[in-house]
Symmetry: C2
Subunit: 345 residues, 2 copies
């Protein structure tokens, strides 16, 4: 509200350095035609006065518009639906910041499709966020985008070997380990089998979670035996069938870890078998379903990666990269959330 406290402007810096506004501007924007000694005087003045350029004014003057494309999986997976929703919110926010988001939904399981979709984005966008499949064709497409000057961030699932600018998502090995520790500790001394259900090992995030999980259980909870991983393709019917069979065939089943989606099917199977109270069930992604399952005691913990955070983080990374603004990388780390019945949001 106050108009009293006046900011330090470039004018002030120029005066302090004993140069003109134009020169100060040249130094700060790296334009040619300033002697080293003069540039140093300006930089000194910036430091002395603690000058911070006014972001609002800079963006306005630049008058640029940034176009981003978010490439999301086509499937009807709950988490991906939530992510798409959050991307829409983010778009809304970006609209007040000279940036626009288009969303493109493609079949993630088809590397060729994904790769050519990505390549079709060249020249039409300034930045791309993609839920990527770790496949050579996709990696090549990402590198092509990067080479043509488009900023690429991977979202949720990474392609570490590519030239992507940034990965926005959790460490999935750590997430799997977290699930392992929770099951191990909740089982506390009990002996028996633990079921493991994955969507598909072709997805890097699923494979990593599985790895982290089995690593912890094998290493630290020898009383618990991890059964062979079952593929669910993230479908409720299949997870239900798998869970039912496990409950039937493994009488010593102590816990279940679902690496992917399809928790509803598992919950149904557990309820049907009347095992809600003693079977430990841990899964991923906080949704209406899973929070209900937590409250009812069917699920014991949910490991979550916040869709809203990821969407906003991707947008911030792209925006600040394109606008050449600094980024607080520490703020952009996506955390592995653990939700119990008691700390639901």
């Amino acid at each position: 509200m106050s108009r009293g406290v006046s900011r330090i402007t470039l004018q002030d810096v120029a005066r302090e350095a004993g140069v003109s506004l134009a020169t100060a501007d040249r130094v700060l924007n790296g334009r040619a035609g300033v002697r080293g000694a003069t540039a140093d005087r300006v930089k000194d003045a910036v430091a002395r006065l603690g000058y911070r350029p006014n972001l609002a004014a800079a963006r306005l003057a630049r008058g640029e518009t940034y176009r981003f494309c978010f490439v999301l999986p086509a499937g009807a997976n709950v988490f991906m639906r939530m992510l798409a929703e959050q991307v829409a919110n983010t778009a809304n926010w970006l609209a007040t910041n000279n940036a626009y988001i288009d969303t493109l939904r493609v079949d993630v399981f088809a590397p060729e499709t994904l790769a050519s979709a990505l390549e079709g984005l060249i020249g039409r966008y300034d930045g791309v966020a993609v839920v990527a499949l770790d496949h050579p064709r996709v990696r090549a497409a990402i590198d092509d985008l990067t080479a043509s000057g488009i900023a690429v961030v991977t979202l949720v699932s990474d392609v570490p070997s590519s030239h992507r600018l940034h990965y926005v998502g959790i460490d999935n090995i750590a997430a799997g380990r977290t699930a392992g520790t929770l099951i191990g500790r909740f089982a506390a001394g009990r002996r028996g089998a633990v079921g493991l259900i994955v969507g598909t090992p072709a997805l890097r995030d699923h494979a990593e979670r599985q790895f982290g999980f089995t690593q912890v259980l094998a290493g630290e909870y020898p009383a618990l035996k991890v059964l062979a991983a079952q593929e669910s393709l993230d479908e409720d019917e299949r997870t239900e069938a798998i869970a039912s069979r496990l409950l039937r065939e493994a009488p010593d089943l102590v816990g279940l870890y679902n690496v992917g989606a399809g928790n509803r099917g598992i919950a149904a199977a557990i309820s049907a078998a009347n095992r809600a109270s003693d079977l430990i069930f841990i899964g991923h992604d906080l949704t209406e379903d899973t929070s209900r399952f937590l409250l009812r005691g069917v699920m014991d913990a949910v490991i979550n990666q916040d869709a809203g955070h990821q969407s906003r983080s991707a947008a911030r990374v792209l925006l600040s990269h394109c606008a050449g603004e600094p980024l607080l990388s520490e703020q952009e780390r996506i955390r592995i959330d653990i939700f119990l019945r008691d700390n639901l949001p």
Copy 2:
């Protein structure tokens, strides 16, 4: 980068509505002198075109500077030190957004001091964030600030009965319940005593955590008996003495829950008694110490409220309130984080 995609400006809205720029401006800024029918035409045009005012331009034009004061406890408590540090970071960020933060450190345990410090802020700031003590004098001071047009948010510890604009912090009852469930489940069937250490019951957040914790243990884990709460004043020496005594005098001690600070003292006592591996120890606030204790297995879980999030959230709430901008309240909820050894950031 692209200059092609042009934003929708107020100009466009005015043209679409068939009015002049001045009239469109009057409608959007609620200035008098526009007939209802005309105003509706403008609003329709806004909706049709999906006009979103350019925040950067608006702030620039307004040319206002906002002054905020963060009132933090004077003590050397680790969490509060981290919070102060994050407030400094936030100040840095705000400086590029026409806003300035001063930090004021006062003795929280003295309601009179806190209240008069708050009242001294009247007229000098546009917004105040305060780690508040829930006391009538403090509540009155907050209400005075609010009445004189200053936006007040409570930080970390709330004063629910006051007219504060917003509370930035976690639900501490839920945090206590979370600790209770973790201890209950990690103890899994064991029978015995659980020690409870609080900084001081005078702090609302400590009292609430204690309440949530005992509620869960009493209700759901009857095999675990919660011992009488011990006051530590958040000091390492006292927590160490308390923990040592509990370890000595309660041979059936299964777990320890520290509601406040001073985890270092407890860790020392546990290590000295050689009980790291079997005693369950849960505390609050992720610091260098506590994450080390997690890794070493001395602590079993840390419940955290992110200092950076809270500081930034408070700043965003104050800024958007003062600038009359909309707020995504869903984004401003502070979560109760659970950290195990495996999901440390």
